[in-house]
Symmetry: C2
DNA sequence: AACGATTGCGGGAACGGTTGCGGAAATAAA
DNA sequence: TTTATTTCCGCAACCGTTCCCGCAATCGTT
């Protein structure tokens, strides 16, 4: 099925060493004519180098694993596209695995990546408490690992993320400056660090501006479109007054907007809406959602830089990169 | 950095054959006690099997390559998620590569997959004329290849796609039954077969219903949101009358809707909008876009079935699977 | 002409597993 | 006890490369 260097060697009456050298473009140990001849016959015979054998021999796979919670949000797919764009010219390929927001899938797919002996792993975790020992063990064995976006506290490992606390703070202040006093928070799950950071920012902004914290304004029913809808419906049906909604992500915000509009509220006049984690989708709906956009390109750049550094210099110290994200004010606030 | 079976063998005073057999769970050739002992020490020493070596020896990588044009559209990411869900339990991993809608990237990434000796490739091509000899050669060498969604005519190779012609036909008839006579067609690029099929359906439906074909109603300015916007703007500015828009994909439809609403048209009263290739995004905008939704789950199932069959029985004849897609009528028509 | 340096190539041991074969020990059958 | 059959394990080849080492032929130098 496949031609090997031995086939070429036999065809030319050479040794496989020479063929290998000619094919890998090594200078000095093989005469130019022989090299040319070998390369030509290889081409003619349809030779394809068996990367498996090369990797086994060189003990390096030139592969980076990327483990993400999902691909539906364009954040991750864009991240992957950017990372590939940078890695490919450097000779690295990537292999993508999904955790589907499930810690068991995450573990299993992490194993899969590690089993295939990738040179490094870029991971965005689905739970900042789970699988921690596994990651420590990995780091201890000195295999390059870099967390991005959803990181884990306390690991001796490089990471890159945006400053969710600060961004949430600014987003909250934006709402407050618009005169909002009863801001509902559609929160994210507790097991994601970003979510906790945002909630903390929510609390802190309120207290900084002398607004009392009302727990009944904080809801955790789900981070998707349906979740946002249910949460707002809950507030309305229980007569809990609010004049703004601060969402964990944009799909929540969209769900919230839909319910509000259907019930006859005006956005942003009656109720303002703002969200973290915005992408182009935020601009599709009406009114377009004010959101904080994650600097996905820069995050990919940094993550790739960190993983490559760890590969080239395995003992370099961990680095924690924080990239500011940008607030885009749109019609909804 | 990594523990090998030889390390385990040395530690236990056994041969690597025995260790290998114990670890691979082979019955009968190794005593239960030895097996248990080996497995325990492997665990203790943190042994991870080197898949590379296994694959090299077994001449099989248990890996399926998936090559898609992009990941931004949720169609492809959903397809991948589904395919992985099915393949994983069967022991197959997947590696995802992007062509970025570019034939050179496609070629290069196809090579990459083939170089890494994947057991089969699932591909959605970005151009139905390009790289054809390469694919033929691949098929001739009897390496499993399955096209999905965007297929190429005339290759002796299994494929799965939805019936774009029929779906476009129904979508057009739907518009016609709604009394539309001047239907603009925001077409896709010529080099994608699906696009040609849809255009043909456009022509045929018109002729079936005795409506004259007007070339000035067919535009090809781009398949994204901006493209849709430009195209509709063009029609309006040149005073070309139309009462419906039939789009190649949903982002185009969204761009078109935005322009129409901004100019004061009512949808669907003044102008109806319908699109192929719809996803959840079609339901986010107002008015929600009537669209044909591709049966992504079924397509993934079939594609996986076909590639596995080709792997298990390399000589089985090519099969062309066509899965009907569903039209969802929404507010825009 | 004699001698070291360079060039071009082949031999063979890795890389980390799997697997067919053969043999010793243990067990079963005669 | 002898013979036949299992059971369990080791030996060594193999997958397709790379790369170190050694050797012969050619080259340049005095």
């Amino acid at each position: 099925m496949y031609v090997t260097i031995i086939d070429i060697a036999k065809a030319l009456g050479l040794s496989k060493s020479t063929v290998s050298r000619a094919l890998s473009g090594e200078k000095g140990n093989v005469s130019p004519e022989t090299a040319r001849l070998v390369i030509e016959t290889a081409e003619r015979m349809g030779y394809k180098r068996n990367e498996l054998a090369v990797h086994l021999r060189k003990r390096k796979t030139m592969t980076i694993g990327i483990l993400v919670p999902e691909l539906v949000t364009s954040f991750y797919s864009t991240f992957i596209a950017h990372a590939q764009q940078i890695l490919r010219p450097k000779g690295y390929r990537t292999i993508v695995a999904l955790s589907n927001e499930d810690i068991f899938w995450e573990k299993s797919n992490f194993d899969l990546l590690s089993d295939s002996r990738v040179d490094g792993i870029l991971i965005s975790t689905c739970n900042d408490k789970a699988n921690v020992e596994q990651y420590s063990a990995f780091i201890q064995r000195n295999i390059p690992l870099v967390f991005f976006d959803r990181t884990i506290k306390g690991l001796d490992c490089s990471s890159v993320r945006s400053n969710d606390y600060k961004a949430a703070f600014f987003l909250m202040e934006h709402l407050i400056y618009k005169g909002r006093k009863r801001i509902a928070h559609l929160a994210g799950p507790d097991h994601i660090r970003n979510s906790a950071d945002r909630f903390q920012a929510y609390i802190d902004t309120l207290s900084k501006h002398g607004i009392a914290y009302d727990p009944s304004l904080v809801l955790k029913e789900g981070t998707d479109r349906a979740g946002g809808a249910t949460e707002v419906t809950f507030l309305l049906e229980h007569g809990i007054p609010f004049d703004a909604v601060f969402c964990f992500n944009e799909m929540q915000a969209i769900g919230a907007e839909e319910v509000l509009l259907r019930k006859g509220f005006r956005i942003p006049e009656d109720i303002a809406v703002a969200s973290m984690y915005g992408t182009e989708v935020s601009t599709l709906v009406h009114p377009a959602v004010t959101s904080v956009e994650k600097p996905v390109a820069r995050m990919a750049e940094e993550a790739v830089r960190l993983i490559l550094r760890q590969i080239d210099a395995p003992l370099s110290p961990a680095e924690e990169v924080i990239i500011p994200s940008e607030m885009v004010i749109r019609e909804s606030s």
